[in-house]
Every structure is written in structure tokens, then in C-alpha cells.
């Protein structure tokens, strides 16, 4: 096991496309680091550079205390799990698992022992004599994991290993991955575009965009304290709601007003976000997580001091345990480049139909007891302690420690 350190790593492809730009990242020994971002953000490239499958155009990567820039993959002592498993189709499961060990000229008995251990751990014992073609997707995935485990490498690299599985299997494999990491404690770098995977798996999550590092932090911190509009919009599902708002202070205290609503801003927010008071009287971008809403009826009592806004539900998505209420507010949608980038996950050009005109479509996640139906009016309460404020120009979160002085 070892730490992995990337310092000022660049990747420039032929034609001058810069896929990774000055990436600095320290992955601690035994840590589970998730690289997340929309398609084309450079996360896979970064992983492949750590693996040695791509040349490093600039900067330095070290695994343990060795600089590995010019080491071929075989000498880096890492194992990788690929998106489409990359099993050797002409070998049985057993041979697939043993291949890397045989190449290292390990004694037969030791190979057998390790293969059997891994097969037992992953529940593959009865499939050892089968070829990959005779396995289901989940089983192939486990073989791919096993091939990495038997090597007992310094680090695991995983390139979207769950994205070819169906939704249910993905959830259970996610749990298995978590257990596996707990048990083996091997440094792991995990690439995904799925922010749910990122949140659930990572000890820390690194958000990338267009080759630039946006924020590295624990999942909860990313969720609670996003550094900019992009991270705020990308992490969390449904995505954070944004609106242009005016921050004002009058006799009854500070408040933020948008689309005809006026939400009080508690004093604690100003102490939490140093520099926010400089924005009083100015325009900011307000962000509210869908989970910070609640139906005032369903929330009766527990919403003391929360602000209330009356809205009309346009669409409701009933998920059983909760309901996503989509409603329009009378404010133009925020067209900041960061929110657009976060919403457009990759190649899909237009995500939402432009049915709302120049109004913004917001989402609130309310308790299933609310029983709200489309077209109904309801009163939402908002936890005003969790309001997010962003600079209109730069899109940076106001008062985030990383942004102080920027």
C-alpha cells in the first residue's frame, strides 16, 4: 500500500487539447479517492496516467516514494479494473485471476492459494472453470475485481467499474466495494461520472471539470460547502436550485429576495460565511438544495423559524419514501456557465425541455406524507440555515474558506 501524489500534472493530447491541467492531488495511504466529473473532464485520463497507460505531458506522479513518470505499467505495482471488465476472453476465470501472478513467476501453490482466497471472497468459486463469455455482467465484474485483488498491489485503480451493470446490481456492488475496501484497506482511486457513487464510496471526492480540479473534500463537505456553482450543481440529486437574488438588510434583519419571495438570512450565516456582509445590497446567486425544503403540512411543528413560500406543483415525482415537487418560480433561470456545465452531463445537449419560458424550474424534496398532486398549491418551508450564496461574476461560493481572498 502506498500514497499516490500528483503534482502539477498536465496531459496535452496531439492537437493541443489539454485534458488535464495542473492537477495537484494527494491520495493518502489506504484512502478511497473518487474522481468525479462530467464526461470529458479528464478524470479517466488522470487515472490512466497513474496507471501508466498514458504518457504524462508535465508534472510528476509518485506512488509510494517512487516517481513513476517513466515506469511502464507493469513496474508500477498497481491493479486496474476497467469499465467493460477487460477480461481475457480466451482464459477461464481461474486463468484470468492467475495471469498477473504467473507473469510474476510466483510459485504455483501461492497462486492457487491467492486465487482461491479471492474467489471465495467474491463468491466466484463455482465459476472458476468457466470462460468469461459464460458469465453474467455482475459475475464478470467480480472476476475483474478478483484479478485486481489477487495481485495485492500498492493501489487499485477503477475506471467506472459499475457503469455497465444494471441499476440494482450497481447498488449491491457498490456496497460490496465499500466492504472490500474496508477489509483490504488498499489505496483506491475510483473514477465515475455518477455523483451518487462518488458520495457513497469516497473517503474523499475530487471534482474535476475540463481538466481543472474544482474541489477535493469529504462527500458531506462537498454537499454542504461546495466551492463554486459547478460543484454545487453537480453534486446532489436532484440538483441544487439557483436563482438571482438581492441580499438586503433592513429593520428586521438580513434577507434575500427573489421572484417575489423574501427569505430571512440568519445571523449565523454571516458568521459562517465571512465576506458575505460585503454583498449586502448587491446581487448574488442563491442556491437552495431540494432537501432543504419541506411541505409545511407534513413538517408541522418541526419547522420552527423556517421561512415559508407558497408554490404550485407542476410535476411531482413520487419515489415512495419522498416526493420530488417541481415548481416554477417567477425568475429567469440562472445562465451561468458553471450551472450549464453541471447540468449538461456530457454529450446530451439539452437536458430539460424549454417549457418553462423565462421562469426557473425548481425542485423540492418533500416527505411522502405530503401527498401533493400536480397542479395543487402547497406551502413549502425552507431551512434558511442552509442557503448557499455565489458571486454573480465568478460563480465562487461566498464565504468558502478556499475562496477567501480570491
Amino acid at each position: 500500500m502506498a500514497s499516490i501524489v500528483l503534482s502539477n500534472v498536465d496531459k496535452v493530447y496531439a492537437g493541443g487539447v489539454k485534458a488535464v491541467n495542473g492537477l495537484n492531488l494527494e491520495i493518502k495511504d489506504g484512502e478511497f479517492m473518487v474522481l468525479v466529473g462530467p464526461s470529458g473532464c479528464g478524470k479517466s485520463t488522470a487515472l490512466r496516467m497513474i496507471a501508466g497507460l498514458e504518457d504524462i505531458s508535465g508534472g510528476e506522479i509518485s506512488i509510494g516514494d517512487r516517481v513513476v513518470n517513466h515506469l511502464p505499467p507493469k513496474d508500477r505495482d498497481i491493479a486496474m479494473v476497467f469499465q467493460n471488465y477487460a477480461l481475457y476472453p480466451h482464459m477461464t476465470v481461474e486463468e484470468n485471476l492467475a495471469f498477473g501472478l504467473k507473469l510474476r513467476k510466483m510459485p504455483k501453490a501461492e497462486i492457487q492459494k491467492r486465487v482461491n482466497e479471492a474467489a471465495k471472497m467474491l463468491g466466484l468459486e463455482q465459476y472458476l472453470k468457466r470462460k468469461p463469455a459464460a458469465l453474467s455482467g455482475g459475475q464478470r465484474q467480480r472476476v475483474a475485481m478478483g484479478r485486481a485483488i489477487v495481485r495485492e498491489p500498492q493501489a487499485f485503480l477503477m475506471d467506472e467499474p459499475l457503469s455497465n451493470l444494471d441499476a440494482k446490481l450497481r447498488v449491491s456492488m457498490r456496497a460490496s466495494l465499500n466492504q472490500l475496501h474496508e477489509r483490504l484497506g488498499v489505496t483506491t482511486v475510483y473514477v465515475t461520472h455518477d455523483q451518487v457513487e462518488a458520495m457513497t464510496l469516497g473517503d474523499r471526492v475530487c471534482v474535476l471539470r475540463d481538466g481543472f480540479l474544482q474541489q477535493v473534500d469529504t462527500p458531506q463537505n462537498l454537499f454542504d460547502r461546495p466551492v463554486n456553482l459547478f460543484v454545487a450543481g453537480f453534486m446532489g440529486s436532484p440538483a441544487m436550485n439557483f436563482a438571482y437574488a438581492d441580499l438586503v438588510r433592513d429593520g428586521s434583519g438580513a434577507a434575500v429576495s427573489f421572484a417575489g419571495f423574501k427569505l430571512p438570512v440568519p445571523d449565523s450565516t454571516f458568521t459562517d460565511k465571512p465576506g458575505l456582509d460585503r454583498y449586502v445590497g448587491k446581487r448574488v446567486i442563491l442556491g437552495i438544495r431540494p432537501s432543504d425544503f419541506e411541505d409545511s403540512v407534513a413538517a408541522n411543528g418541526s419547522s420552527g423559524g423556517w421561512a415559508r413560500i407558497p408554490v404550485t406543483a407542476n410535476v411531482t415525482e413520487e419515489l415512495g419514501s419522498e416526493i420530488n415537487v417541481l415548481f416554477t418560480i417567477d425568475a429567469p433561470p440562472v445562465e451561468h456557465k458553471d450551472t450549464v456545465a453541471a447540468a449538461h452531463d456530457g454529450d446530451e445537449e439539452e437536458v430539460a425541455l424549454p417549457l418553462t419560458g423565462d421562469k426557473s424550474l425548481w425542485t423540492a424534496r418533500v416527505n411522502a406524507r405530503s401527498h401533493v398532486r400536480p397542479g395543487q398549491s402547497l406551502e413549502l418551508v425552507i431551512d434558511t440555515h442552509n442557503l448557499h450564496f455565489f458571486d454573480v461574476e465568478s460563480g465562487l461560493a461566498i464565504g468558502h474558506e478556499a475562496n477567501v481572498g480570491r
Partner: protein, 445 residues
């Protein structure tokens, strides 16, 4: 193929059956068998006329002698295995089948893998594939020239002699010799020129003075050595065995001093033909010019001679077909999952191990198809042998297909034996055809 005549009603789902009934369509989808036969008939007639009938007639004809009323039974087949010239053709065919498909497939694989990682790969592939666009007859003519004996005409020998001369110098004067009379101071002894008695002058003849036009004039013999020169004056004149002003030196020859049959000193003639033995003590020596000085220059290999003719023609065949194999194999290579190769690299494989243990096994279906196709192709080889082998070595280069033609139409006049050879060839090819067809069918299934 099987979709041309679907089983009547068999595959219609239950839900769609009543739709068919309400539309009052015929119970069977697709055209009627009668119509199918109508469409197939032209192809069938042509197939029978041009494939089935000739095969059957060849079998029938092979049972007769050169005269088609002269029934001989199976003795034509017996002749194939007893006649020494047909046995040579069979031996040659075996050499072909063993060597050519293997080399073609291996070269194709190497080219395909190499072109994966170079720039201008398409141009390279195009050039390698080009011989396929040339008719085999034209390729034969080209290689007839390539294998020409004279290095000035045949590129194969030009290359070989150039390489040979780069390592073994061929400086010397082939044909140079002493005069053959008693007055001559030197005489031939087993290819070498040895002086008689105590002389250091070695006059030689046998070279056209014109070839030495640029050589220096022969110099007077030094005290510790002598002179080797061409003792001929152009246009006549000059004294025999003496160095005359117009006479040219022979430079670069090895000269040995002999004492009692043993070499005691060695020297090389300078530009003016003189040589020195500086360290030699006074005494009586004879001077020898070893035979190496007079060897004929290396003229390359006799490609079109009886020993090398089959390898030479196989070389031409490989030139034609390696590009074809490469294109097929590169197509197969494109179908190999990149991830598996990368996974192997991360698993600790060197590039060679990746190639040996991942690429080749995954390519094996394609390699097998190329290999078997080549075997079929090689068994039938005819035109290259016919064109490249000169008439005099044709018996040594002969293959079954050529022998078949030769016996039937090319002067043999025995179409019974020719038919027997044709059937023999067909029997050799059939197993490989079946193999390939079964493979294709499995791939489709």
C-alpha cells in the same frame, strides 16, 4: 441464407396470427416454393453446367487413357504415385504447403501488428497490398527478372552481391595468369602464381589492358621486394618479362614470401604494383601470389537453377500474398478489445507477453482462416511456377496443377492422366474447404 424460405407459419407469434387471418393473407409468409425454384433455376443450371458436370466428367475421363475410348481403370491414379516426375510435383506441393502458408501468415501478422503503431500506416498497408492488384502472370514476369543471374539485371543477385562485397572484398584480377612458357619467371601452381627461381618480378597476362586504363604505371622493383604488373603493351610492342613504360601495375594483390614451402612474410602490392618485404633476412625465397587474387567475383545465387527454383517461386508467392494476409489480420486486430491488452500490461506483461499470450490467442480464429485459405490457394498454385521457372528447370519446379495442364494440353496429350491429376488435386483441397465452410457457418451462427 436460411431466411430465403421461412418455415410455413412456424415463427409467427400468437398475437400476430389473427392479424394475418383478418387480412386474408396467404397462410404462408414469403414467396411460394415454386417461385423460389423459378428464381433459383438459372443459377442452378449454370452451376450444373460449369461445376457439377465438369467434375463428374473429369472423374469419368480419368478412367481412360490418352485415347478416350481406351478404358484403363485406375491405372492413371497408379501412374501418379509411380512416375518419378509426378512424385516430384507432389514433393514440391508438400514443400509449398508446409512453407508458404506459414510464412505468409506469419509475415501478415508481423506487418499487421507493426502497422498498428506507426504513422502512415494506411500508406504502408496500401503498398503492401498492391501486389494483389497485379495479375499473377505479371508478378511472375517481374520475378523472372528479379531472379536474373546477372547482378546487373536481377535485383536479387544485385542485393546479395552488394552485401557480400561489403563484407568480403573481391578486389583481385580474375583471369590474370603468367605466360605459359619456360622463359616466364612465374608459373601457375594450384591456382596460385609462384615464381621460378630467384626473381621478384611477376609479369602477368590475361587481362584486357583497357580495364586497367586508370591504373598507375608499373614501378621499378624496390630492393626489398618486387613488382607485379600486366606485361602487355596496348597495341603491341614492349619487351616480354620486363617493365616497359606503358605497362600498368596490378595493385592490391596479396604477395607471400616462401621459404621451404612455408610462408615467412606477406605483403600487398602498392598502387605502382611494387611490394616490400622489409623484415626479411637475406636468403633465397620464392614469391607466391595466392589463388584468392585470381578468383572470379561473387556472382550471387543461381535462383532459377534446379536447387533454388522452388524457394525462389515461393518467395514471389509470399510477395503477392503477404499484403492480403496483413489486411485480413489487421481487420481481426481491430476487433480485439483494447482494454484486454491494457489490462495485461497492468497485470505485468511485457509487450512480447501481451503479443504472445493475449493478441495471438485472440487473433487465432482469423489466423486460422488466413492459414487455411492459403493452404487451399497454395495447393492450386500454377501461374507463378509456369512463368518463373525456365523451361529447363520446369521438371524440378513442377507442381500438381502445372503437371495437370502440361500432361493434358501442354504437349503431354494424355487427358486421362490430366483428369486423374485434377481429381487428385480436388481431393487434396476438399478437407480444407470443408474446414473453412464449417468455420464460416459457426461464425454466422
Amino acid at each position: 441464407m436460411s431466411s430465403t424460405a421461412p418455415a410455413p407459419g412456424g415463427t409467427i407469434a400468437a398475437g400476430s396470427a389473427d392479424i394475418v387471418e383478418t387480412a386474408k393473407a396467404p397462410r404462408q409468409l414469403g414467396p411460394s416454393p415454386k417461385m423460389a425454384i423459378g428464381f433459383l433455376a438459372p443459377a442452378l443450371i449454370l452451376l450444373v453446367a460449369w461445376v457439377i458436370y465438369p467434375i463428374v466428367y473429369s472423374i469419368w475421363r480419368s478412367l481412360f487413357g490418352s485415347n478416350d475410348s481406351d478404358f484403363v481403370g485406375l491405372s492413371n491414379y497408379g501412374a501418379i504415385f509411380t512416375d518419378s516426375s509426378t512424385l516430384t510435383t507432389i514433393r514440391n506441393n508438400i514443400i509449398w504447403v508446409v512453407v508458404a502458408p506459414l510464412v505468409v501468415t506469419t509475415l501478415g501478422l508481423i506487418f499487421a501488428v507493426m502497422t498498428e503503431r506507426i504513422r502512415w500506416a494506411t500508406a504502408f498497408k496500401l503498398i503492401l497490398f498492391m501486389p494483389m492488384a497485379v495479375s499473377l502472370l505479371a508478378a511472375g514476369v517481374v520475378f523472372r527478372l528479379v531472379y536474373e543471374q546477372d547482378p546487373d539485371k536481377g535485383v536479387a543477385n544485385a542485393i546479395i552481391t552488394t552485401v557480400h562485397d561489403a563484407f568480403a572484398s573481391s578486389a583481385g584480377f580474375p583471369g590474370a595468369r603468367p605466360r605459359e612458357n619456360d622463359q616466364a619467371p612465374a608459373a601457375l601452381q594450384g591456382g596460385a602464381v609462384v615464381t621460378k627461381g630467384a626473381t621478384t618480378l611477376v609479369p602477368l597476362v590475361g587481362i584486357n589492358p583497357q580495364t586497367l586504363a586508370s591504373a598507375a604505371q608499373a614501378g621499378q622493383p624496390p630492393a626489398d621486394g618486387g613488382t607485379v604488373w600486366l606485361d602487355v603493351v596496348r597495341g603491341g610492342g614492349g619487351a616480354v618479362n620486363q617493365i616497359d613504360p606503358q605497362e600498368k601495375a596490378l595493385a592490391g594483390l596479396t604477395v607471400e614470401a616462401l621459404s621451404g614451402g612455408k610462408v615467412v612474410a606477406t605483403a600487398t602490392t602498392a598502387d605502382d604494383g611494387t611490394y616490400h618485404f622489409p623484415g626479411l633476412t637475406k636468403g633465397s625465397y620464392s614469391v607466391r601470389l595466392p589463388a584468392d587474387n585470381f578468383k572470379a567475383p561473387f556472382g550471387g545465387l543461381t535462383w532459377l537453377g534446379p536447387t533454388l527454383i522452388t524457394p525462389a517461386i515461393i518467395g514471389a508467392y509470399i510477395w503477392v500474398w503477404a499484403g492480403f494476409a496483413m489486411v485480413l489480420i489487421s481487420a481481426g486486430l481491430a476487433g480485439i478489445p483494447r482494454d484486454a491488452l491494457e489490462a495485461a500490461r497492468i497485470d505485468g506483461a511485457t509487450e512480447w507477453q501481451v503479443f504472445r499470450r493475449i493478441t495471438v490467442p485472440l487473433l487465432s480464429p482469423v489466423l486460422l482462416v488466413v492459414f487455411v485459405t492459403m493452404i487451399i490457394n497454395v495447393l492450386k498454385v500454377f501461374d507463378l511456377v509456369f512463368i518463373i521457372a525456365p523451361g529447363s528447370v520446369q521438371p524440378q519446379a513442377n507442381v500438381i496443377a502445372l503437371e495437370m495442364w502440361r500432361v493434358s494440353f501442354g504437349g503431354g496429350g494424355n487427358q486421362g492422366l490430366g483428369s486423374a491429376l485434377a481429381i487428385f488435386l480436388l481431393i487434396l483441397v476438399l478437407p480444407f474447404m470443408f474446414f473453412n465452410i464449417r468455420r464460416f457457418r459457426r461464425d454466422e451462427g
